[in-house]
Amino acid sequence: MPARLKLFLPLILFAVLALFLFRGLELDPRELPSALIDRPLPEFALPALGEARQLTRADVTGEVALFNVWATWCVSCRVEHPYLQQLADLGVRIYGVNYKDEDDAARRWLDELGDPYLANIADHEGSLGLDLGVYGAPETYLVDAGGIVRYRHVGVVDERVWQEVLEPLYRQFSEEVRSR
C-alpha cells in the first residue's frame, strides 16, 4: 500500500464508523420484528367484550383489518384512542384486543371515549396476547383478508404512522382482495 494512502486510513475508518453511528441514530432498538409476520393469526376462542358471544379467529378474519391491542391501564392507549376513532369514522376496519383488562373498566372507557372497534376480544389472561407476541400495549397488527399477519406496529398509531406505514399496506392488501 502506498505510504500516502496509509495516511488516510484513520480518516477512512472514522468515516465508516461515523456512517454506522449515524445510521444508528435513526434505529429504534425497541422495535422488534414480530415473529408472526406472514404467518396466520393465532387461533383463539375468547368472549366478546360486552356481548354474550364467543369470538374465534373465523369471526374476525375474511377482510383486511387492524387489530389494536389496548387496555384501560395503558396510558398511551388513551393518547391513541381519538385517532383510532378518526380512522374508524373513515371506514377502516379495526378490531380491539382488550389485553389483560377488566370488562367493566373497558366498557366504561368505550362509553366515554367512543368505540372505534368492530368488536373487542376480551383477553383477560393475555393468552391471545402471548400467542401474538405482545409485550406491551398499545400494539397494532395488520391482518390481511386471508387471516395472515402482515405488519406489527409497537406504540401509538398516529397520523404519521398511519399515512407512512399502515395506510399503504392496508390499501395494498385491500386491493389484492378486490383483484382476486
Binding site: P29, L32, A35, K100, L130, D131, G133, V134, Y135, G136
Partner: protein
C-alpha cells in the same frame, strides 16, 4: 487485604441485587425442574426490556413468561420445546443465545471473522517491520556513514 474485602462486599451486593429481583416463588414438584427453571429464566430475554433476562426483570411480560415457563416445565416440556414455543411468539430476540440461522449468522460469525482479520493485519504489520529491519546493503551502509560524517562535521562548524 482491605481492597479484597471491599471487592467481596461489592460482589455480594451485586449478587444480592439479582437474587432479590424476582418476587413470586413457584413450588416445583422436583429440584431438577427448579434447576431448569432457573437456567431457562436466565437464558430467556425480556422482550420489553432491552437487556434483562426474565429472571431479573419486573416487567409484566416477564412475570407472564415466568409463569408460562413454570407451567410448561410442570407439564413436562423439554428445554427445546419451551425455547421453540417462546421463539415462535417473540422471535430469536427472546433468547440470549439465538440459534444459528441466516438472520443470526453475523452475530455468531462476527467475532471469528474479526479475530481472523486482526491476525491478518498483525501478520502484515509484523512482516513489514521485519523487512524494514532486515539490515542495510553495503551500498546503503556506505551512504549512511557518509551522511553521518557530514552531519558530524556540520556540528563542529557551529
Amino acid at each position: 487485604m482491605k481492597l479484597i474485602l471491599q471487592a467481596l462486599a461489592l460482589a455480594l451486593m451485586l449478587f444480592q441485587g439479582t437474587a432479590l429481583a424476582v418476587i413470586e416463588t413457584y413450588e416445583f414438584s422436583s429440584p431438577e425442574l427448579e434447576q431448569r427453571y432457573r437456567e431457562l429464566s436466565q437464558e430467556l430475554r425480556c422482550p420489553k426490556c432491552q437487556n434483562q433476562n426474565i429472571a431479573d426483570s419486573n416487567a409484566p411480560i416477564s412475570q407472564d413468561l415466568r409463569k408460562l415457563l413454570y407451567q410448561q416445565l410442570e407439564a413436562g416440556a423439554n428445554d427445546e420445546e419451551i425455547l421453540d414455543y417462546m421463539v415462535a411468539r417473540y422471535g430469536e430476540f427472546v433468547r440470549y443465545r439465538p440459534s444459528f440461522s441466516g438472520a443470526t449468522a453475523i452475530l455468531w460469525l462476527a467475532p471469528v471473522l474479526l479475530l481472523l482479520a486482526a491476525i491478518a493485519v498483525a501478520a502484515l504489520v509484523l512482516r513489514a517491520r521485519r523487512d524494514a529491519s532486515a539490515g542495510l546493503t553495503a551500498e546503503d551502509q556506505q551512504r549512511l556513514d557518509t551522511l553521518l560524517r557530514q552531519a558530524g562535521d556540520g556540528e563542529k562548524d557551529t
